[in-house]
């Protein structure tokens, strides 16, 4: 398990953190995800099953690109 924290753009309210958590949690290989209103996203994931680049590309896709 690896834990990575990244700062993302566009987080404006509590709904955003909810969206990020829901969407990232759906990825295969994510064990835990937490987003804060200040724009920090912490993901605990299995590096063997999920490359970090996939998480970043999902974040970009849902319009919260890593800063």
């Amino acid at each position: 398990m690896t834990t990575t924290t990244v700062r993302v753009k566009n987080v404006t309210c509590g709904h955003c953190t909810g969206t990020i958590e829901r969407e990232v949690a759906e990825l295969e290989g994510v064990a835990r995800v937490q987003a804060s209103a200040s724009g920090e996203v912490t993901v605990e994931y299995d590096e063997g099953r999920l490359p970090w680049a996939d998480v970043e590309s999902l974040l970009r896709e849902i319009n919260y690109p890593p800063a």
Partner: protein, 778 residues
């Protein structure tokens, strides 16, 4: 495209979505539907109208999966009614439901608490017989108080649980803890009475818990009613859209629902009708009343080629227009979204209130515990008295009003300013507007009409005016500069023939250069004097220089032209000052704000304008890319709060550099502005109004915080019983009963809301026009 034969028929299905607060929300809903409902095509989610619209097969299961997708994303859904009519305004629906819920709970509380309170008080004061002390009466009291505790008061338990789970303590915790303590103590007493172990003279406090919960519920109901009123500004804007439009189809006019209007449709708008969408007039002339969007009271004359905005009122003539923006892209929809986003954003001062609340509640819990301890062990009072004091402290401390202080003021303040044609992007801008010390104005289009016209043309010796105009017009034909429009119009009016040019090149802030296509190789430059002189390498004709100085002193702009490195002539362009500019500057001075003119025009022209308007400070000949730097210098490292007023597109960097950027626009371009504040009215007096509104809103917020907080701080010691030993004082002051505490608390919440609502009626000094409720279209 023809669907594959096997594909089921799809039709448009629309639901109302609740809970969306910002653009990210609508994007999240849209994405959730796309990802989770493969059958859905053409998904659009509109934040302003709170609707999700999808094209799906006519199948209840698919509809359910759309609803499930929206709910998965964390938002609520209101389905369309049985007859397939589009859902009612989700916002109004949600507000109405909250009002009804709160009212129902309050009435239930009142029905149970009323008899309980009356009977209990009558018994305590010995007004009814000794029978009332029988056990069955206490059991009846318990039966009345218990539903109040867990039905009327359920929301407080739920709120407390939510807060405690997140490791915080909110006001619900205080209410729940206070009322539960009174109720549970009474239950224990009744239990002992049933068992026969109760101490003689034991008293129950069922009426206390019931009255506390019912009164606070009353406060919540009144709050919900007030919130419904504060949302009126937005609702009034939404109601400006007519339900149908008159589309011209093959020469015939057909009335169609507004939703089916597409970009490019030709629409007929008759006199007295509301313009349905944004569009360009293709036929007809009329005067259009745009006051509902811009706050500008005079109707605007419009003819073919002019842009009209959906929601404005066509007054005199019949118009045909081609739709350019429909649905969520219209100026009206954008305005509504902007206002909603501003109302939903958190003001910096609100964060302070939240932080204070987060510390306040735990502190109160400690104070309550200490109060109990001092009374029970310190003073040696009985358990009953000590518990009453504990409950009174918990209830009086409830900072409900604190939570209302900022949001209600922001809600009413931004709604009020929207009515005046002033849009705040977020509530931080509203707050900063109150602190403006320096107002920097761009000249063209801000203090002037922005419709420059050629005033006079002076040809160089040996040239003619027509020759000058022809050459200058040909070169400027490709330019987007505001002055170029003036030249083109002058050429069209005088009927000179304008040829084409090649090798066009623009030097921002300096001028333009091109070669005339018709006469091979002739190079023409048009621009400011310093740039022209630089290339000419010698002085311009003295006679023209004198003319130029006269024109500039009168605040006019001069454009020099050369042809093949020889002087060609001087064009004088004048841009009428807006009639209200002078008054706007004077109003700012009255408020102690320093005025600054920031323009690319030459020094003399700028000084001429500044003298005419009474402006304090002039920065002239500032190239567009330097304007932001000047604004930064004026900010003096953040020591002065600087507002920049300009048009949203050309002055964008300067607007961004300022503490408060005000973009002034009219018509459809307002929607493109990205400044913190958008002035929809072409009236510089709106700058002082912005300041006044920000000031008033902030003042109300401070008053509210004072009301909410000062009251708590003042009454907590009394609730704790510190005045007990002063036996000369009236009884309610010596020992604040929990019921009095609950009443006072409800009063404080209501007074905060009423204070905020005052903003909606406030008169704004220096504005030309009082709010004209009566002149709005129904």
């Amino acid at each position: 495209m023809t669907p594959a034969p096997a594909a089921p028929e799809t039709s448009k299905w629309e639901v109302a979505v609740t809970g969306m607060t910002c653009a990210n929300c609508s994007a999240a809903v849209e994405r959730a539907i796309r990802r989770r409902v493969p059958e859905a095509a053409e998904v659009t989610v509109n934040l302003a109208t709170e609707r999700a619209s999808v094209a799906i097969p006519d199948d209840a299961e698919v509809q359910d999966s759309v609803v499930a997708a929206i709910e998965w994303a964390g938002y609520g859904v209101i389905r369309p009614s049985e007859d397939g009519a589009p859902p009612v305004d989700a916002e109004a629906e949600a507000r109405g439901r909250e009002r009804r819920d709160q009212r129902r709970l309050f009435l239930l509380g009142l029905a149970l608490t009323g008899p309980l309170f009356v009977a209990s008080m009558a018994r305590d004061f010995g007004l009814i017989g000794a029978w009332s002390h029988a056990l069955w009466v206490n059991l009846l009291f318990a039966a009345l108080a218990t539903p109040v505790q867990f039905v009327v008061g359920w929301g407080f338990y739920r709120g407390s649980w939510g807060a405690l789970r997140n490791g915080t303590a909110n006001m619900d915790v205080l209410v729940a803890l206070g009322s539960t303590t009174a109720w549970a103590y009474s239950c224990v007493v009744v239990g002992q009475q049933v068992a026969g172990t109760a101490a003689p003279g034991s008293h129950v406090y069922f009426e206390t818990s019931a009255v506390i919960l019912t009164l606070i519920r009353l406060g919540k109901w009144l709050e919900a009613e007030a919130r419904g009123r504060t949302g009126d500004a937005i609702r009034r804007l939404m109601e400006l859209r007519p339900p149908t439009a008159r589309r011209i189809e093959g020469g015939e006019e057909v009335e169609v629902p507004l939703d089916s209007v597409r970009v490019g449709d030709l629409l007929r708008v008759r006199p007295g009708e509301t313009v349905p969408v944004d569009g360009t007039i293709t036929d007809g002339r009329s005067s259009v009343d745009e006051s509902m969007l811009t706050g500008e009271s005079l109707p605007v004359e419009k003819g073919p080629g002019a842009e009209v905005v959906g929601g404005t009122l066509n007054q005199t003539g019949s118009l045909v227009l081609r739709a350019t923006h429909v649905g969520r892209d219209t100026a009206l929809a954008r305005i509504v979204r902007m206002v909603e986003e501003a109302q939903g954003s958190r003001a910096p001062i609100q964060r302070l209130a939240d932080q204070v609340s987060a510390i306040f509640v735990p502190v109160i819990l400690v104070v309550a515990a200490v109060t109990f301890g001092v009374w029970y062990w310190g003073v040696g009072s009985d358990l009953e008295t000590s518990i009453v004091r504990l409950v009174a402290v918990l209830v009086i401390a409830c900072p409900c009003a604190l939570g209302l202080a900022t949001p209600t003021a922001i809600l009413v303040g931004s709604g009020r300013s929207a009515e005046r044609g002033i849009l705040f992007r977020d509530s931080a801008a509203l707050e900063r507007a109150a602190a403006i010390e320096v107002a920097v104005f761009d000249k063209t289009g801000t203090l002037t009409e922005g419709r420059p016209a050629v005033h006079e043309i002076h040809p160089a010796p040996g040239r003619t005016a027509d020759e000058v105009l022809r050459a200058v017009a040909a070169v400027e034909a490709s330019s987007e500069h505001p002055l170029a429009g003036a030249i083109r119009r002058a050429a069209a009016e005088s009927g000179v023939e304008v040829g084409s040019v090649v090798d066009f090149e623009a030097f921002p802030g300096r001028g333009v250069r091109a070669r005339l296509g018709s006469i091979e190789g002739r190079s023409v430059r048009v621009g400011r004097r310093s740039w022209i002189e630089e290339h000419l390498g010698r002085e311009l004709p003295a006679e023209l220089l004198e003319r130029a100085e006269q024109a500039e002193a009168a605040g006019r702009t001069t454009l020099w032209a050369t042809i093949d490195d020889a002087p060609l002539g001087l064009t004088v362009v004048s841009d009428q000052l807006r009639p209200t500019s002078r008054e706007a500057i004077a109003e700012l001075h009255r408020r102690g704000v320093r005025s600054v003119l920031l323009t690319g025009d030459n020094e003399r022209t700028a000084r001429g304008v500044a003298a005419e308007l009474g402006i304090d400070e002039v920065h002239a000949e500032v190239l567009p890319d330097r304007k932001a730097e000047v604004v930064q210098e004026l900010r003096d490292g953040g020591r002065r709060v600087v507002a920049m007023v300009g048009d949203g597109i050309n002055d964008a960097p300067a607007l961004a550099a300022a503490d408060v950027g005000l973009a002034m626009g009219t018509g459809t371009d307002i929607a493109m502005a990205t400044a913190p504040v958008t002035l929809m009215r072409g009236d510089p007096r709106a700058v002082a109004e912005t300041l006044a509104l920000g000031d008033a809103t902030l003042r109300v917020i401070r008053q509210n915080l004072g009301w909410a907080f000062g009251y708590n701080v003042l009454l907590i010691p009394i609730a704790a019983g510190v005045l007990w030993s002063f036996s000369g004082l009236p009884a309610p002051l010596r020992a604040l009963h929990p019921i009095m505490a609950a009443g006072a608390m409800a009063f404080s919440s209501v007074s905060v809301v009423l204070n905020s609502l005052r903003l909606g009626r406030m008169s704004i000094e220096g504005s030309g026009r009082p709010p004209t409720e009566g002149s709005r279209p129904a």
